[in-house]
């Protein structure tokens, strides 16, 4: 199989530029990176149909091996349509992001930050457990409400459930 070196070099440039842009924080650049990546992949597909100069259409008398392979072109067409749809959708999202927050950057996940910032001490898991955890006592005295026995001072203001 012969391969066109110009196409390969072009593909490499597309991939390099695409990956560089993809690593940016600005959404528009990320989108441009995706478009370049998609075009690079399409060129790769195209170069898989062999070298140039072969017959694309039926010419009577041409031997079968002198025709260019048309399947990669069909694959590219499908891939182009898909990339087009995704690009349009991405533009929609970027515009929406701009309308909502006047920003074009990839945002951090707030819940991620919250989980990362939370202390390792957890009230529910790590608080001392009272020696007697049962709510049913034999001596007839009122059982200690669950929770208060283990609670710290900050929870003393909790209203009682008992009427």
């Amino acid at each position: 199989m012969t391969v066109d070196i110009t196409l390969i070099v072009l593909m490499a440039v597309f991939f390099a530029a695409g990956i560089y842009l993809l690593l940016e924080r600005s959404l528009t650049r990320v989108l441009l990176g995706l478009i370049l990546l998609g075009n690079g992949a399409n060129i790769l597909l195209l170069s898989m149909s062999g070298g140039g100069g072969k017959s694309p259409l039926y010419v009577s008398g041409t031997p079968a091996e002198d025709y260019t392979d048309s399947l990669p072109q069909a694959l590219i067409l499908t891939a182009i349509v898909i990339t087009f749809a995704v690009t349009a959708f991405m533009l929609g999202i970027i515009y929406r992001s701009w309308v909502l927050g006047r920003q074009d950057d990839v945002q951090d996940d707030p819940e991620d930050r919250r989980v990362a910032d939370q202390p390792s001490y957890d009230y529910e898991d790590d608080a001392d457990i009272a020696a007697d955890t049962t709510e049913f006592s034999d001596d007839g005295s009122a059982p200690e409400p669950a929770g208060t026995s283990a609670s710290g001072g900050d929870r003393a203001d909790r209203p009682e459930d008992t009427p």
């Binding site: 992949a41 790769l44 399947l71 694959l75 991405m90 999202i93 909502l100 990839v106 996940d109 989980v115």
Partner: protein, 536 residues
């Protein structure tokens, strides 16, 4: 004419349904009726196909009458038939749940009218990916379901969903690009994209080239399946979507990736060349995922992490790649789709009933709604792998396969699997203790909904730190049915399906075992597509 010839309907019917629901944009009741009917018929056809699959063997349907390897074929074998039935049953339940949610909240019009067409397109894409016997058609199937999922993920276009949607779309597009590049390289190496044809021709390709193609495909599918180093995007993006959408994503989308990985490993690149790598990846996925779940307090995020963790079990079975290991993995996929989806649906109900999905702010739900307690408890124990449930049976099969293999790494993997199961139990116990068992008043800053209904509203005043906007989405919308039957019904159905996997475990394990044997043999698949005597 045999049952498997109906296979194209599994893809075409949802597409037709999507077209009809698009025309009915302004009539939400008709939309619901059409989409539910479509999915029910699809499910029925797929059940017929599954019942016929063991006797009919692998069957290929040639689309448009083109002879393979030139035309596209749809291949029905026991694995794909099982996946189709489970995925359609789950998506039907989620659809009824979503329709029920719409009816309960009374949003007769609004942007959600796009939900039904998009949802049906998603189902069509999933079915296509399960059925196709053509690598490029698999790419198209992935793109159909991904594009539909982009729309569902950003439904409503609120700021958090847009933020999550950006991550999701970019990561998915990159994985699709990798897949496309891999297809181009495979075509360059072999000159075909038909999977059966590839199975024959790839054997004569140089082993080093084979390894490159193999790894390219695995990375592309690994991103979609959320296997450990490539799973970073999932807990970031899934939790913000609407509850039914998250549920169907969690159940189906990652499993399509796992399904594609299974096909790559068994059909295209058989042999144990990278099984060691897969075992390490499986171990890391299980352990890292479940440790992530331990740190979360938001239920949806917590479940997203358990989802990642349990993908590890499927990769575990795939990496063992013996008949018993692969069979257990097939059973585990069916089990996990059902259980994970029902847990997400229950979380949606919890969010409705308690006003939030953050378990620090929940409490006393077992007393407020015992039904909710049962609905959460059964799938949670099922996921953790407590004996009578299907999760236990699947894990047992995997552990058996690991012990049978007997290498040191396999034993490490078995130990990791048991540890992950225990940690899952711990995670579920934490949720249970907080959201269900403690007194609502012990919750940090509980939503008024949680306290209001305790004693006909008399204790509303006991809630602390409540500001106006924290009354949840139901503020000013009175009266609201908190747990409508249209939402609990499908959830009960799915939980029951999860239990049925235990009751039907005998025939199901036979089926998945046969499916595994079929895939390991490879010849039934190749002969069904290319004709007898084509391999070799």
């Amino acid at each position: 004419m045999i049952a498997a010839d109906l296979a194209p309907l599994a893809v075409v019917l949802p597409f037709l349904g999507a077209a009809v629901t698009f025309l009915l944009l302004r009539h939400s009741r008709a939309q619901r009726a059409v989409s539910i009917t479509t999915l029910s018929i699809t499910l029925l056809i797929e059940v017929v196909m599954l019942l016929a699959a063991p006797s009919a063997g692998t069957h290929a349907v040639r689309l448009g009458g083109w002879a393979p390897p030139f035309g596209i074929v749809l291949v029905v074998d026991q694995f794909s038939a099982l996946m189709l039935v489970v995925s359609s049953a789950v998506s039907l339940a989620v659809l009824i749940y979503a329709a029920g949610q719409g009816m309960a909240d009374g949003d007769e019009d609004g942007p959600v009218s796009i939900f039904h067409p998009t949802y049906l397109i998603l189902v069509a894409g999933v079915s296509n990916a399960f059925l196709t016997g053509d690598l490029f058609n698999l790419y198209v199937g992935f793109e159909i379901l991904l594009t539909a999922s982009y729309v569902l993920m950003t439904l409503g276009g609120t700021a958090p969903r847009i933020r999550a949607g950006v991550t999701y779309v970019v990561v998915s597009v990159v994985s699709s690009m990798l897949f496309l590049i891999a297809i181009a390289m495979i075509y360059g190496a072999t000159g075909t994209v038909n999977m059966a044809d590839l199975a024959v021709k790839l054997e004569s390709v140089d082993p080093a080239t084979q390894l490159v193609l193999h790894l390219m495909l695995l990375v592309a599918f690994g991103i979609k399946a959320a296997v450990f180093p490539l799973s970073f995007w999932l807990p970031d993006s899934y939790p913000t979507a609407p509850a039914p959408v998250t549920a169907v994503f969690a159940g189906l989308l990652t499993k399509v990736g796992v399904y594609a990985m299974v096909r790559v490993e068994t059909l295209l690149f058989p042999g144990d060349r990278i099984n060691t790598l897969l075992m390490v990846v499986a171990l890391l996925t299980m352990i890292v995922g479940i440790l992530g779940a331990l740190a979360q307090s938001d239920l949806k995020r917590l479940l997203s992490f358990t989802l990642v963790s349990h993908i590890g079990y499927m990769v575990f079975g795939l990496a063992i790649s013996t008949r018993i290991g692969l069979g257990a993995a097939v059973y585990y996929v069916a089990h996990h789709i059902t259980v994970q989806t029902s847990l997400f649906l229950v979380t949606g109900l919890i969010e409705r009933r308690g006003g939030t999905a953050n378990m620090d702010r929940l409490g006393g739900l077992a007393k407020l709604s015992p039904l909710l307690g049962i609905l959460f408890f059964l799938p949670a124990m099922n996921l953790a792998g407590i004996p009578p449930f299907s999760g236990f049976l699947g894990k047992l099969g995997l552990i058996q396969a690991g012990v049978e293999l007997g290498t040191p790494l396999a034993y490490v993997l078995v130990a990791g699997g048991v540890l992950t199961s225990l940690l899952t139990l711990l995670v579920m116990a934490r949720v249970w203790n907080r959201a269900f068992w403690r007194s609502p008043a012990d919750a940090e800053d509980p939503d008024p909904i949680l306290l209001a209904s305790k004693a006909d509203g008399s204790s509303v005043g006991t809630s602390r730190h409540v500001t106006g906007e924290e009354t949840g989405k139901f503020a000013g919308k009175d009266p609201v049915t908190l747990l409508p039957g249209t939402m609990t019904g499908p959830t009960i159905g799915l939980v029951a399906l999860g239990l049925a996997l235990t009751l039907l475990a005998g025939p199901l394990f036979t089926l998945s075992d046969d499916a595994a044997q079929e895939m390991l043999d490879r010849t039934p698949y190749i002969e069904a597509v290319l004709g007898v005597g084509a391999d070799g």
